[in-house]
Point group: none
Chain length 204, copies 4
DNA sequence: AATGAATGAGTCTTCATTCAT
DNA sequence: GATGAATGAAGACTCATTCAT
């Protein structure tokens, strides 16, 4: 009989991941300290190495968990609305993930934006399902004439995800001032879909 | 009698800045090594400290130089075109700066996207003139009816600069595959100005 | 389960203090090397920092330990003799401390004599109980007419402690030649109590 | 013809010595910085090495100058008074030297009290003439019955010089509070000559 | 499995000394 | 002789990782 039940192990692992996400989000990979993470998770420093073989490994696990949670949304896509509505719903769902797991998402977004040779491939790999889900939505939009067809769908999908990330960056960078998390879905869709050109009367 | 002329000192300082930009761009602040920077600049490690009192100080100088070069464009704004043309010209000029000083701009963009408490204020401070110049262009566009008036100009300006940054991130993150630097000005304007909604025949 | 028992930790800490005292006594604060101290204590350099957060902190601990041992004597003051006998007994007890902890006492005496802004306050603070104990003895002497009353007791106490220190300085400075440790208590009392004026027959 | 007259060279040398004395007095040998000394003397750092080959050499020159000025007094000994008066006059003359050259004397006194292998021999060597002059005075006192004869004169001389030093230490250590420089000669003689034993009516 | 002390390679930074001008 | 930039050896301190208990 194990000294710890599987459930207990999982629970410690999750506490470690959460603590690590906080620390990596606040300090970045290099400045993050294992001591802090262990303390925040309420375990001894050495115990961290019973769960993750390396600081880098722990970091990767944080990214993976963040990306996993984000990607999960796209398995229960809302259907039946316009492309615009679908995209806004997606963004809204993503915002909920950010709300629930702010630290994880900060880490993912920062790494996605920082193209560091060590960590970039990780993020790309983990975000791939996410991106391809968005690509699917865009393609449907193109098919139905709701999305312009003169740009590759894959690139438009990247742009949408990028804009969403950008809004998070501005949210965090401004200390939550602007935009607020609530405003993000609508803003993302407006920016992505309508652009800044003059309105003929329609839209937000 | 000074051992070095003022010009020679400036030259060393510039070599150091360039070397530091390379290193910071490649490794990030924490992982960057003063040894590497000194070696790349062709001076002894100790000499770095004759020019910059601290690693952090050197980093700040790199940001300042990058932002300075970027902001310089906006003093010679093209005039007389449409807002769209002006924005594209601005983006094109910025791309030239990136081409000329790729490492510096990588550092600036990365820090702008990474909201680290230590460095974020620096970037914000140095990018302020840049942002407010773009805001001016947008405001003219609003006045002439070329830009939608239902969003604050300052926020639209942030969005434009953000999209530009995003495209750089994708450029660097993709290893230069897509978008290429050449494509960036047009893409930035298209995304920002037109959005992804369906075309009625015009554009791109 | 701790890797070391509390007793083992204390033991390492004491080895470090002893090694540090040796090194500080021999080289002075600035010239002392943490490497040397660690090596002498038989631990790795990094381990020093598990016990003391800073070289300065370690130094302060050495002073504190030295002063603590010195002050301890004064809690078991000999009573019932003349002031002269009491002072000589005190000095003799102090000499025993010096014998037992020569390096610690060297550090304390040197710092007490060197009025360096950084360390002087430390010494003053730690020697305070010591000085005030001596002051008490002197006051009794004044009350009983054994000590002159035309000088403040506090200042006489300082003088006594100073003379004791002076004799240590001459002991160490002369390589132990003169005075020897054994001679110090008698000498201290003679100098302090009788002075160099002519004898009318009495004393030493 | 030299680019600098001998007088000008001497003048720079003296400024350097004075600046060095200040710095060594304030910081101690190790913490003293050549930069600071050069700046305080109003010359470039490199110029220091035109006058002194080494930091240690400069330090030795400061000690030598301090000891030289102190020893000078003893060449014009007051004569014809009692031993007690002579000693007080000597102490008074020494206090004048300290007043005129406080930094130099601080350095000498501190090193005399700190028995550091590197510097102690220097001080001993330079103070030798000083000590032997005092020894001469004491010997005369012994001969005339004014000084006790049961202690070697050389040791009494050391004690007198030591007490003087001790009073300086207390003066500097107390921030000039007690004793003041003016009080020192009388105090030195009282302590040295009379001791703390009870008065029969005489003295201070 | 958990613990936390020990480890030591790795870093920034300082500063006496040199030397080209 | 004066200058001050360049040098690089040296040192305090950090921290991921290991491992005895």
């Amino acid at each position: 009989m194990p000294r710890l039940t599987a459930a207990a192990k999982t629970e410690v692992r999750e506490r470690l991941l959460a603590a690590a996400a906080e620390e990596f989000a606040a300090a970045g990979f290099d400045a993050a300290r294992i001591d802090t993470i262990a303390a925040r998770a309420g375990v001894a420093k050495g115990s961290v190495y019973n769960y993750f073989s390396t600081k880098e490994d722990l970091f990767a696990a944080v990214i993976a968990e963040g990306a996993r949670a984000a990607a999960e949304n796209f398995h229960r896509l809302p259907t039946g609305g316009t492309t615009r509505e679908t995209l806004e719903a997606l963004a809204a769902a993503d915002v909920e993930v950010v709300r629930a797991q702010e630290a994880f998402q900060k880490v993912v977004v920062r790494e996605a934006m920082s193209f560091r040779p060590t960590t970039y491939p990780l993020v790309v790999e983990h975000l791939a399902p996410y991106i391809s889900a968005v690509t699917g939505v865009i393609e449907s939009g193109v098919a139905s004439g709701e999305v312009r067809s003169d740009q590759p769908s894959a690139q438009l999908a990247l742009a949408f995800v990028g804009i969403l990330g950008l809004l998070y960056v501005q949210h965090w960078g401004s200390g939550g001032t602007w935009p607020t998390l609530d405003e993000i879905p609508r803003l993302a869709v407006t920016l992505f879909y309508d652009g800044a050109g003059p309105r003929d009367g329609s839209s937000s």
